[in-house]
């Protein structure tokens, strides 16, 4: 086998050194009753060319976004990835390395992570960012745990129903057997968190209020007000950002008063890849630094006064604190922090802004055009590159019709919001040309696309 370097001579000599007569004897420590007595029922191995042939066939049986007019967002965004990103992350010193526990031979990973953390802080307007959590949803759940941990006696969490449904579900799973009480906050007619409901429910039990920014319907929540209300009752405001490109244009949650900012970094250079791996980012203000889950890379000086980077605050981690760690997370998204770092470095200050403006403008155009169609009602108020639309017919039916013209018009809202049977969520990025948008509009209007 091409991955196995042993020759039969090697095996013989090694067994001799060990003092065994055969491979079988190596397993003498495995009780007979525990042995598998038949070969694995998995087809024999295959050559690389057969393998590639089979995988290509499976890959071709999927509707890839580059070959369809795809307006899908909902927590995973189709942005262009410059070739530089893949070129650099393909360097094996990065991707075949282990977690950088051995700083002498991991400075590359460590510095790259340090830079990633810094850029996440700049983007979110926060003081400290970790590296990293699995994805936006689990980061959101960890944020809830942090809030409960830090708030001491408080154990109630108010989750906006306009927060990404999968984030909400994940929060609930994480809290399932912990002394945390979860309540949901309704959204109002403008598809943002209902402020009156929030005021009504905020009490001394509430550890945190959790909202999306933008929220699942694409709306920009009024973070400043939400923060003010939460803080007034001693609760933290957790902001979950599923589309962080919005932060290239809109005020940062940190600036608006958020206490914890989490989100999904996939937009920044990570392939869609059917939803994973992405990366959960997580940023806090100084006060919560020690409660931060996961890894943190810090700057240090070596004995010669040279700057270097190391994993810090390890004492909060599972390999030291075991059951009392701030999180059980171990392997996380190292390679994805690298992708995000490279992507952000390439775009930089101006690129990110311009890209965000393009997304905003394209979505604005699409929303306006769709809004002009009879029977279609897009959400009103500020959105970034995504917006919910109420349609004149059930989403399932509408979407199926557009698929016939190779258009993926959006995500049906009804699975997560049964009351919105006619609702779809439409996302428009820089990857969607005006021509594509016009085809979408024509398709929605019922004309041939």
């Amino acid at each position: 086998m091409r991955y196995l370097p042993h020759t039969s001579d090697d095996v013989r000599q090694m067994l001799e050194t060990i003092g065994l007569a055969g491979i079988e004897e190596l397993f003498s420590g495995v009780p007979d009753a525990c042995r598998l007595s038949r070969p694995l029922a998995i087809a024999p191995g295959c050559s690389e060319s057969e393998l590639l042939g089979r995988l290509k066939k499976l890959a071709d049986a999927n509707a890839q976004v580059s070959e369809w007019d795809a307006f899908l967002g909902g927590g995973a965004y189709n942005h262009f990835i410059p070739a530089v990103v893949d070129h650099l992350v393909s360097r094996s010193e990065f991707y075949t390395a282990y977690t950088p526990y051995q700083p002498e031979i991991s400075q590359g990973t460590l510095q790259a992570i340090f830079e990633y953390q810094t850029m996440i802080c700049q983007l979110t307007g926060m003081d400290i960012a970790n590296a990293s959590l699995y994805d936006g949803a689990s980061a959101c759940a960890e944020a809830v745990l942090l809030a409960v941990r830090c708030a001491r006696k408080r154990s109630k969490i108010l989750l906006s129903q306009a927060l990404h449904p999968q984030y909400r579900e994940t929060v609930k799973t994480y809290c399932r057997y912990l002394p945390v009480e979860i309540e949901e906050l309704p959204f109002d007619a403008g598809y943002v968190t209902d402020l009156q409901a929030l005021k009504d429910r905020l009490d001394e039990q509430v550890a945190a209020v959790v909202v999306g920014y933008p929220n699942y319907f694409g709306r920009i929540e009024e973070l400043a007000t939400l923060a003010e209300l939460s803080h007034a009752r001693g609760a933290r405001l957790v902001t979950a950002v599923a589309e962080p490109l919005a932060l290239g244009l809109f005020k940062s949650p940190g600036e608006l008063g958020a206490d914890v900012v989490v989100g999904e970094g996939q937009s920044f250079g990570i392939p869609l890849s059917y939803g994973g791996p992405g990366i959960g980012f997580f940023a806090v203000k100084k006060q919560d630094m020690r409660a931060l889950p996961g890894r943190l890379v810090g700057e240090t000086l070596d004995q010669d006064g040279k700057r270097g980077y190391v994993l810090t605050l390890a004492t909060r981690e599972q390999h030291i604190r075991r059951e009392r760690a701030t999180s059980n997370i171990c392997s996380n998204q190292g390679m994805c922090t690298l992708m995000v770092g490279i992507y952000l470095a390439l775009h930089g200050k101006r690129g990110l802004r311009q890209l965000a403006e393009q997304n905003y403008s394209k979505a604005a155009y699409a929303r306006r055009r769709i809004g002009s169609l009879a029977g279609f009602q897009p959400v009103e108020g500020e959105v970034f590159n995504e917006f919910a639309v109420l349609c004149p017919e059930p989403a399932a039916q509408l979407l199926a019709r557009l698929q016939k013209s190779r258009i993926l018009a959006g995500i049906p809202l009804c699975r997560d919001y049964p009351q919105l049977e006619n609702g779809i969520l439409v996302c428009v990025t820089e990857q969607n040309s005006k021509q594509q948008i016009d085809r979408l509009v024509a398709g929605l209007a019922g004309g041939a696309a």
């Binding site: 086998m1 991955y3 196995l4 000599q13 090694m14 009780p31 694995l40 087809a43 024999p44 295959c46 393998l51 089979r54 499976l58 049986a61 999927n62 795809a70 967002g73 995973a76 070129h87 990065f94 991707y95 075949t96 282990y98 051995q102 002498e104 031979i105 991991s106 400075q107 990973t109 340090f114 830079e115 983007l123 699995y134 994805d135 984030y167 994940t170 799973t173 399932r176 809109f250 890849s273 059917y274 939803g275 040279k306 599972q318 390999h319 171990c330 392997s331 998204q333 390679m335 690298l338 470095a345 390439l346 690129g351 393009q358 394209k362 604005a364 500020e382 979407l399 698929q403 993926l408």
Partner: protein, 454 residues
């Protein structure tokens, strides 16, 4: 390994922010083909203070240089115990980047994602066959999340049966994620002492009606097969508990012994260990979980199922613990693991296990005596030495640092905690005798140095 001398911490590549120059750019956008629009000024952020401004060239050089301060499996031997740093096949990287996979949106309807779903379904099957479990979830993002999902299912099962058990037994050799994951499920952790291997007697003693289950690692982190595992499982089951197996060491068992056959109820896989997906400098990994039938109703949603009409994501699972993350798992990693299994085949997987165990035992045979071996039982895929035999107050950390001078990545050190100054070596099957010899020679030379030059 010759030729890869470590360069130590000689780092003076500037930070991105320091080499940044106002106005420099590394991107370009197509011209906007719709009317430009901007949000209300009150919502607009100021410019991104401190954010880098670099050209494409700057970025390429920066990361290229950073990479040279790193060390990967492709650079040389990486004997980290408990990490299974095997070779990451290049074709897997290519596979994960096929446009039909990389450019597939997770909200694509099932009937337009049949290739991806089929791959996941077949991967579930293959993992089930390797482990002996009838059902697999591919959702967990890494081993620790697999542990969490698995322990949640155990708890959900007890609660469905109206039981409110509060404790989980965990042997002292366990990885730190085990107690941390149990704690996340609201369990109280009860450590059990083991003497190399966990005894059925110790478990029996600790077992009571408050115990929800046991988390065991098999082979354990000393590389030893838990020889009383069947008895132990029986005891836990008899006491009304369930048994979780940390599958991090599955590389020792493929085709040899199946956790699902010997009494384990739930186990996670580390695809980034056993199934050759890259560690990525700390992830992303993937931690599927296999369960026995009794736990099946509690699997996370969605689950990939097959029906007449094709493959589909099933959300209709009322007893499910819910989801532990967004979407259906680290699909990009699943593609790599699937490719690995296809390339190896059933026999190849077993052969990988045989050679991994051969390699570890060869290293053991070459070093034993010079390095102290605290547990003498026949070990499997890894071997753990202590620092006891080292002369002149030389410690494990010294050995590790010296190994870097010799051009090798050090083994895992100071874990498991039960061994004083543990040196935990897991060569994996993708290392040749030649490489192992060079590594053992280096370790023997270091021990001799300690002797001669205190």
């Amino acid at each position: 390994m010759s030729g890869t001398e470590s360069r130590g911490l000689v780092l003076d590549e500037k930070l991105l922010f320091e080499s940044s120059d106002p106005g420099r750019i590394g991107y370009s956008l197509a011209e906007l083909d719709v009317p430009p629009a901007v949000p209300a000024t009150a919502l607009l952020r100021e410019e991104l203070t401190g954010f880098p401004e670099l050209s494409e060239v700057d970025v390429v050089r920066h990361y290229t240089r950073l990479s040279t301060w790193n060390y990967g499996v492709d650079s040389g031997f990486y004997p980290l115990g408990s990490c299974t740093m095997k070779y990451n096949p290049k074709i897997n990287e290519k596979a994960a980047r096929l446009p039909g996979f990389a450019e597939l949106h997770p909200h694509t309807p099932d009937h337009l994602s049949q290739g991806a779903l089929q791959l996941m379904y077949e991967l579930q099957d293959a993992l089930g066959e390797v482990s002996g479990f009838p059902a697999i979830t591919l959702q967990p993002a890494a081993g620790a999340q697999g542990e969490f999902a698995g322990m949640l299912m155990i708890r959900a099962c007890h609660e469905a049966n109206g039981e409110r058990r509060t404790k989980v037994l965990i042997p002292d050799t366990a990885h730190g994620t085990n107690p941390a994951s149990a704690a996340l499920c609201g369990y109280q952790v009860v450590p059990i002492a083991s003497d190399g291997q966990l005894s059925a007697a110790a478990v029996a003693e600790a077992m009571d009606s408050d115990v929800a289950g046991l988390m065991i690692t098999n082979p354990n982190t000393l590389g030893l097969y838990e020889k009383e595992i069947r008895e132990i499982c029986q005891i836990v089951h008899d006491g009304g508990g369930l048994v979780y197996c940390d599958g991090a060491n599955l590389n020792a068992l493929m085709g040899i012994s199946r956790p699902g056959d010997i009494g384990i109820d739930v186990m996670h896989f580390n695809l980034h260990k056993t199934f050759s997906t890259p560690h990525g400098g700390g992830g992303p990994g993937s931690g599927p979980v296999g369960v026995v039938e009794a736990l099946q109703p509690f699997l996370p949603v969605p689950q990939v199922v097959r029906s007449e009409a094709g493959y589909r994501l099933d959300y209709d699972r009322p007893q499910s613990i819910g989801r532990v993350k967004a979407f259906a798992g680290h699909f990009g990693i699943l593609v790599r693991a699937y490719a690995y299994i296809l390339a190896m085949g059933g026999d190849g997987l077993r052969r990988a296990t045989e050679l991994a165990v051969l390699n570890a035992n060869y290293v053991r045979a070459r070093l034993e005596g010079v390095y102290d071996l605290p547990y003498k039982q026949r070990s499997l895929h890894e071997v753990v030495f202590s620092e006891n035999n080292l002369a002149n107050d030389c410690h494990t950390l010294d050995v590790a640092k010296r190994l870097i001078d010799y051009g090798f990545h050090p083994p895992t050190i100071y874990f498991p905690l039960v061994v004083k100054g543990a040196l935990m070596i897991e060569p994996t099957e993708t290392e040749s005798k030649q490489v192992l010899d060079e590594f053992c020679d280096a370790l023997l030379a270091i021990a001799a140095e300690a002797q001669e030059h205190p």
